[in-house]
Amino acid sequence: MITRSSTRDLPLQEERSEATFDWSVFRRLMAYLKPYRVRLAVMYTMAIINVAATITVPILVQRGIDNHVAVQQPEGLSLLLSAMAGVLVVLFISARIQGTLMMRIGYRLLHDVRRDLFAHLQRLSFRFFDTHRTGQIMSRLTNDVQVLEELLRAGLDTIVVDVLMLFGIAGAMIVLDSRLSLILVVTVPLFVLIVFGLQSRLRRAGRRIQRALSSVNAFLNESISGIKVIRAFAREDLNTANFRAINTEYYEETRRFYPLNGWFWQSVATLALTGTTLVLVGGGILLAYGGITVGVIVAFLSYVNRFFQPLQKISNMLNQVSRAMASAERIFAMMDEPVEAGAPAEWRIAPPVAQGASPPAEVQFQDVSFAYNPEEPVLHGVSFDAVPGGMNAVVGETGSGKTTIINLLCRFYEPDAGIITVDGIPLSQWELSHYRSRIALVAQDAGVFSGTVSENIKLGTPGARDEDVRAVAEEMGIDTIIRSLPNGYDTEVGERGRLLSLGQRQLVAFARALLRDPHILILDEASSYIDSSTEAVVQEAMVRLSRNRTSFVIAHRLSTIRAAERIFVIDGGRLVEQGTHRYLLSRGGHYSTLVHSAG
């Protein structure tokens, strides 16, 4: 976000090839309507009634003028007027039912799309989250769904009604006077020609605007989330200048858009008035030769007026529909992303497996290799047996592959080669949520969510009571720390826990892991932000808690790992040494180099 160039060159989600109407996308969208088909049928029945009533009104007016007013014949006019009142009542009722049903069906559909998309998101693999930016994912659920909403709001309900209306009006005109209806032959093709001529240009310009706008928004987003750094480096003025530049770029794009918009409405306005003129002149000439009445001309005038409305709306809709199709395509593309291996078809509450009597987990890595992307292998044939029920430490320099071992153990990724077994069963054969319900991870990024401290601790243990939370906190010796927060356990932690310090967030993550009473406990550099006095307390509790529990610790601090029963030393993605602290020190290998440089 620092310079304009770096933002401009980013691949943006809105950038895509020419939007074409894709029937498979359309069919999928239609599938969402299935649960509402009865209501949908009612809606369209109402729509047909609505169209019929609308078309009838000018005919009744024509009858009134020709049969009564123009020939001075008051009898029967009141009957005609009551018929008109009846038609209007029908029009009102049918339109109301139709509109209400459309909104209910439409917003329910949006709700269903959001629900399914979010549910799918929860089942996607880590590779997906590695390769997609947060903003990009967010945009599917916010912007793209919103485009669908706009389509709904702009009157998706009426697009079918409008088409019906066009044919209805054209039919009524032909029946009333086939000669005068020839004006349609002149005006309609002209209109269609202009609309489609401008449409593709409008679409292209619209896409460019979207792209420019998302640059503006990306810049804004980073400026808000990175505000602290911006402050610390006093970059406000420069950033403001850069923002202005991006914003101006967007502005320049819009200047290419609205003249096209002007052209469009100019042709609509000209054509509508030309239609009226043609009726007036053509009607007059027909009148000169006989065979037409003033009432028919009046009816035509109101039909011509109405004819252009649905036409405008439909052309407007085409634009919206193509945008919406593009959005729907992106939404479905995300729904088609392969789910995590082993993810169940439906997530259900997997109660943590009762621990107690069951023996501690046996974890084994057999010749495991892994790469995040094929060119850069991270792990090369790593094999080890963890000590069941003991503390296993993974040690190595930054970038040696420690975190990757943890990622594989949590089954965030599948190994490229080799097998990881837990209790002798390959990880790929475990049902995923069942397996994960047996582990607990404390990651470097604590992953605290908005809600209270207590809710955050309960996160991994559905059904936990407040007493359980307190008991765990007491066991860890952090009860007093939590109580000293403004509202104790009920303190709101803010978005991503930002009202807590990093250390406090870590403590919450610890308590959360222990409340779960897991079979396998995984600590990834977990204590780096806890001060050593607190850490000592926590460590003591951990030693107690890791008894009878297979645990893995990644820590850069030797004090954290000295208590481990076995230490695995990783260097350049290979397991180079393993053993106890004393054994490894006496061996004088890589580990002792690490230790001595630290001491």
Partner: protein
């Protein structure tokens, strides 16, 4: 301004031409049609009228074009300016504002709300003004032609206007709630996406879905209560024209038959109803839109009206900082929260290095965030070179106070740009030198694009240590006089930490430095150590003195030393 005048003139012309059409229709009905079969001069006359109308059609098209262009130009330039102002404001808001706000909410104001304002300016105003103008003018013309018939038609209209106003009031309330719910839904979503690792590790996807679905269901309810009034309103608008025609036929028909008005007047009235159709059709849409825009404007103004730091930025001192730093009886609390710092006093001479030691929650982070004036102290005074920090110009102050933060934030930009963040004019040599000093140069050149590699959300993934080193290089380039190290080496492995500490020691040379750390290894860089406990200064002494007389410090020291001694058999950290 010129745009606005042009837009309004064009708008008046657009409708002015439209009013002529019913007059022409009425004239033709009365003066041309009745005799057209018998009088041969009438057909050419009709052609002439037709030609005039066609010319009017062309002119109207052109003015429509001008009107639309002017309004859009106006809208886009106004929105550009507001967006700039908003950004400027957001850049200068005090930190407490950011503590309270959610990113999702701020983003929604800066994006969605701005779009609503644009729409309002681009066609909302146009529609609103035309609705009023057309209704009044058409009424005037009708009265002029036949006031009795006009009154008959216009008795119907207030009923419809009443209905429209009733439903739009309902909508306004509902729309505000809809917006709020949208913000909540988005925040929920953002958290879930950023925290996916934890969610998956704990296999709580179902719980997350349940939480999301609650928001989603609430969203559906809010959406419907905003949308349904509109669905109720539309049918009312649809029948308006029909009801008008009915009244015309009944009252007007009688008057034509009794010979009080000619048939042409009745036909012209039917055409007027056609013109009135436009304002009536868009009235509901326009009302909803104006409501949306009003809400959006309120939310944007709420930010623009908030006091920012610039306002209490009366400081004007722009000289180079020497480096003397004094806390004089400083107390601090966030908003109305509990006291975080209580009567803290200490003084640092230029170039001295002080550590700040304390347990989690003791106020360390708050203490250091007061130095670059992220917050102002609630009581007491902080002085730099003897001058209260309020008197320093903010940018001068911050560009000379360097912070290496606990949480590194890199921007979506190249590594070169990230390292040069505080000094945009830094040469590539200076950047490379800084990267070398932070021991990240070798790694950077090993990347395919070297210093031009994109990092941040859009770029390559970096480990915590690599990010931290880039952040340190960033501060080296900034070359500040006062340096704050906020526990910045805690995520590095021991080997790298020792290397980095050597570099930090060099960086600290000649600079006043505050080192915050929970590990005594970090604090070993300091000459003296402030022991902070519960927001108060317990001690300010050297390591050796503290070891003898400070219980908290000694306890921690013993724990950490014990841990190390077992490992290496030599005394750690000193």
């Amino acid at each position: 301004m010129r745009l606005l005048v042009g837009a309004v003139v064009a708008m008046v012309l657009v409708d002015g031409i439209a009013y002529g059409v019913p007059l022409a229709i009425g004239y033709v009905t009365d003066n041309v049609y009745p005799t057209i079969a018998s009088d041969p001069t009438q057909v050419p006359r009709l052609w002439r009228i037709g030609a005039a109308l066609f010319a009017a059609a062309l002119v109207r098209g052109v003015v429509v074009h001008i009107m639309i262009r002017s309004f859009w130009a106006l809208a886009e330039s106004v929105v550009r300016d507001i967006r700039n102002a908003l950004y400027f404001k957001l850049q200068h808001m005090d930190m407490a504002f950011y503590d309270r706000s959610r990113t999702g909410d701020l983003m929604s104001r800066a994006t969605y709300d701005m779009q609503l304002i644009r729409n309002f300016l681009a066609f909302g105003i146009e529609h609103r003004v035309r609705i009023i103008l057309i209704s009044i003018t058409v009424f005037g013309l009708m009265v002029w032609q036949d006031w009795r018939l006009a009154l008959a038609v216009y008795t119907v209209i207030p009923i419809f206007v009443g209905a429209i106003l009733y439903y739009s009031r309902r909508m306004r309330h509902a729309v505000a709630q809809q917006q709020r719910q949208m913000g909540q839904l988005n925040s929920r979503l953002q958290e879930s996406v950023t925290g996916i690792r934890v969610i998956k590790a704990f296999a709580v996807e179902h719980q997350e879905m349940e939480r999301f679905n609650q928001e989603n269901r609430a969203m559906l309810d809010r959406d419907l209560s905003a949308a349904l009034p509109q669905a109720y309103l539309n049918p009312i608008l649809l029948v308006t024209e029909g009801v008008g025609a009915m009244v015309l036929l009944a009252v007007g028909g009688m008057r034509v038959m009794s010979g009080e008005i000619p048939l042409g007047t009745l036909v012209a009235f039917v055409a007027y109803l056609g013109i009135m159709g436009f304002p009536l059709r868009i009235l509901a849409f326009n009302t909803a839109m104006v409501n949306l825009a009003r809400g959006a404007a309120d939310r944007v103004m709420e930010i623009l009206d908030r006091p920012d730091q610039l306002r209490h930025d009366e400081g004007s001192r722009r000289t180079a900082i020497v480096g003397e730093l004094t806390f004089h009886h400083v107390s601090f609390r966030y908003d109305n929260g509990p006291c975080v710092l209580d009567d803290v006093s200490f003084s640092l001479s230029p170039g001295s290095h002080v550590g700040v030691f304390g347990l989690t929650g003791s106020g360390k982070s708050s203490l250091i965030s007061l130095v670059p004036r992220f917050y102002l102290p609630t009581q007491g005074e902080i002085r730099i070179d003897g001058i209260p920090i309020e008197q320093w110009e903010l940018e001068t102050l911050r560009s000379q106070v360097g912070t290496v933060l606990q949480e590194t934030f890199l921007f979506s930009a190249t590594i070169r740009e990230n390292i040069g963040f505080g000094r945009p004019d830094a040469t590539i040599d200076a950047i490379v030198a800084a990267a070398e000093a932070a021991e990240i140069h070798d790694f950077i050149v090993s990347l395919p694009d070297g210093y031009e590699t994109l990092v941040g959300e859009h770029g390559v993934g970096l480990s915590g240590g690599q990010r931290q080193r880039i952040a340190i290089a960033r501060t080296i380039v900034q070359n500040p006089r006062i340096l704050i190290l906020d526990d910045c080496t805690s995520s590095l492995d021991a080997v790298t930490e020792r290397h980095i500490q050597d570099q930090l020691r060099r960086l600290m040379h000649d600079r006043t430095t505050i080192i915050v750390g929970q590990r005594l290894s970090t604090l070993s860089l300091a000459d003296r150590i402030i022991v902070l406990n519960d927001g108060t200064v317990q001690d300010v002494e050297s390591h050796d003195v503290l070891l003898q007389r400070n219980e908290l410090y000694r306890r921690t020291w013993d724990q950490q030393r014990a841990a190390s001694e077992i490992e290496t058999g030599e005394e750690p950290y000193r």
